[in-house]
């Protein structure tokens, strides 16, 4: 009986740990066709885990990556779009710099910076003319916060890139050039397993909208 209790508490602890592991949350996503483009407004919560806060406070950047998917009703994916917001704490001037879509904003405090990061207003996603007026669309979004460099969340893309590295030819061992395909990674990619060591939000979906 005592052993059973121990096992019960162990699993309870596991559940609590899982529930408290902080990943970003998408509170709302609202897509709206504007005059010439499709815009989106996003509200986020819990974007900075303690690890990310420490990284930012140490003076190294963090990247908030917005991964959008445009769906045609009911569930046909049309396009993928990625936007990155880079947050950097300038230790020397005690200010936070936010770089998003080639624009820079300055925040005087952590709270102000967090507020700017959690509320994204009317972000232009794509030209409106690409949408067919009669059709219904939805927008999906996943948010990931990556410390220091977005490259840390691009393992598969990096791997595809370096797979092109050629072997150096050497005298005595006549030149060979070619490719290597890591089958473990290929299978995990095909199986839809995504390696994100820092956690990403659940996919959130906007209410349906028309281009008109």
């Amino acid at each position: 009986m005592r052993r059973l209790k121990k096992i019960y508490y162990f699993f309870l602890l596991l559940l609590v740990a899982e529930a408290t592991a902080q990943t970003p949350r998408v509170i709302s996503i609202l897509a709206k066709p504007a005059a010439d483009s499709l815009t989106v407004s996003v509200q986020l919560a819990d974007i900075f885990s303690p690890k990310i806060v420490n990284t930012i406070r140490s003076g190294l950047p963090a990247v908030i990556r917005f991964d959008f998917r445009l769906l045609e009703e009911p569930d046909h994916e049309l396009q993928q779009m990625t936007h990155s917001l880079r947050v950097l704490y300038d230790l020397w001037s005690d200010r936070y710099r936010l770089q998003f879509n080639q624009r820079e904003q300055i925040a005087a405090s952590f709270a102000e910076m967090e507020k700017l990061c959690t509320k994204i207003d009317t972000l232009r996603l794509m030209p409106r003319r690409r949408l067919v007026p009669q059709k219904m669309y939805r927008l999906r979004l996943q948010v990931a916060v990556i410390p220091i460099s977005a490259k840390q969340d691009q393992q598969l893309r990096d791997w595809l890139e370096v797979a092109g590295d050629a072997e150096e030819s050497t005298p005595g061992e006549d030149g060979a050039a070619g490719f290597r395909l890591n089958l473990n990674k290929l299978f995990s990619f095909l199986g839809g397993k995504k390696e994100n060591p820092f956690g990403a939000s659940e996919w959130a979906v906007s209410p349906p909208f028309r281009a008109q």
């Binding site: 690890k51 990310i52 420490n54 990284t55 406070r57 140490s58 003076g59 190294l60 950047p61 230790l91 020397w92 410390p147 220091i148 460099s149 490259k151 840390q152 393992q155 990096d158 791997w159 595809l160 890139e161 370096v162 797979a163 092109g164 590295d165 050629a166 072997e167 150096e168 030819s169 050497t170 005298p171 005595g172 006549d174 030149g175 060979a176 050039a177 070619g178 490719f179 290597r180 395909l181 890591n182 089958l183 473990n184 390696e195 060591p197 820092f198």
Partner: protein, 436 residues
Amino acid sequence: MQLLITKKKFYWLLLPTLLVAQFLWAQEGQLIVEQVKILGLRKTNSQIVQRYLGFRAGDVLTPELIERNYQTLQATNFFKQVSFRSEPGSGRGKVIVIIEVEERRRPTFEFAGGYSELDGWYFSPLGVRYDNLFGSGHWLGLRLLWGDRVGGANLRFYQPNIFSSSANFQFDADILGRQLIHYFDQRQSIQKVNTAGMRFTLSGSRGIGKYLSGGLQFSETQPDSFATLVGKDSTFFTFPETIAKDLGRKKFRSAWLRVQADTRDNALFPTKGIWGALSFEAVGGEAKFNRTIFDGRVYQKLSVGVLAWRLKLAKTSEATPFYERFYLGGVNSLRSFDERRLTPVGYGTKLLLSNLEYRIPLEWDKQGKPRFIGVLFFDAGRINGLKEIIGDDTVKALGFGVRVKVPVLGLLRMDFAYPVKHSDDFHFYLTLGPLF
């Protein structure tokens, strides 16, 4: 006088003050590594990870440096997961770098393919790598090889920094069946040569040692006693004396030394620098011969492109068996001729090959690396016995081509080559990887 002494004292005091001020000023705006913490290691010694890191406590830290080190650790294949983060250190601008890793417990399976100058097209339908098995940072792999002129298996063990030194050790064991191309009376024929061998290599990674490598090799070779005429499906058993003398099983043992230098700015698309290697091999056993090979490459940016030149010089003894000699002609040798078409019967003992290319990047990828490259080239070469084949001592060829970077496969190379004389035919080649 008193004033002068005071002034001197003042200057002596001012100097260290200025130095300290300059140091502090240099620190302003920079992040300095205070400590590196590595988490998640179960079997791997932290020194193994530190060996791959390009920074340590006291170094200036940038996101780009972290990016490079992240990629380096990923490339070791030791870890399933690598992530970098940081924490504020004990003072302003001081940073504690935290590296979290998840060690790989299972072997990785690979599929590989490509083009080799020696073996033509090849595929490795299955390769198994069990790197860092005992946590000592070694590489261990076994792969099967299958191609249009090769078949066999290779086992490789590589241990960097043996006994905590700057020397690296590598062991290779191979069982290979290679098909050599001969031209008898203008007709192409294929002869299989089977080899089994072991190779022990020592190389350095620091100081003068990084330019040197050397080793020992033990092998046994047996060529088939017959050759097959290509396209005729018929075999013949009567070889010229230069080949017939080397038929039968032979055992070899050899020692080799190589001096190598590399100052290229980029290994995949160099725009500046040199790569050069000079190797000498002394072979004993059932045949005694020496072999010297020089392979040098120079890269220089010129106007909109890069001028790249490769010169290969090779010489071996007359006693060298035909399957250890040199050949000329083909996509990775002298273009505008069929594979080994310029090779004399019994292969050559002296070789000169020059490839000059002008590479013009036409399109770049997001990382700023060339994705589409146009090339103009000029090849020249000579090998002893060439005059009997084409009536001339030297062969030259001109051509142009394109290189396209393809995901996974790497660089796809297309070349159109025209011989300057000796033939009116142009050759088209489609292959993988850069020539040099």
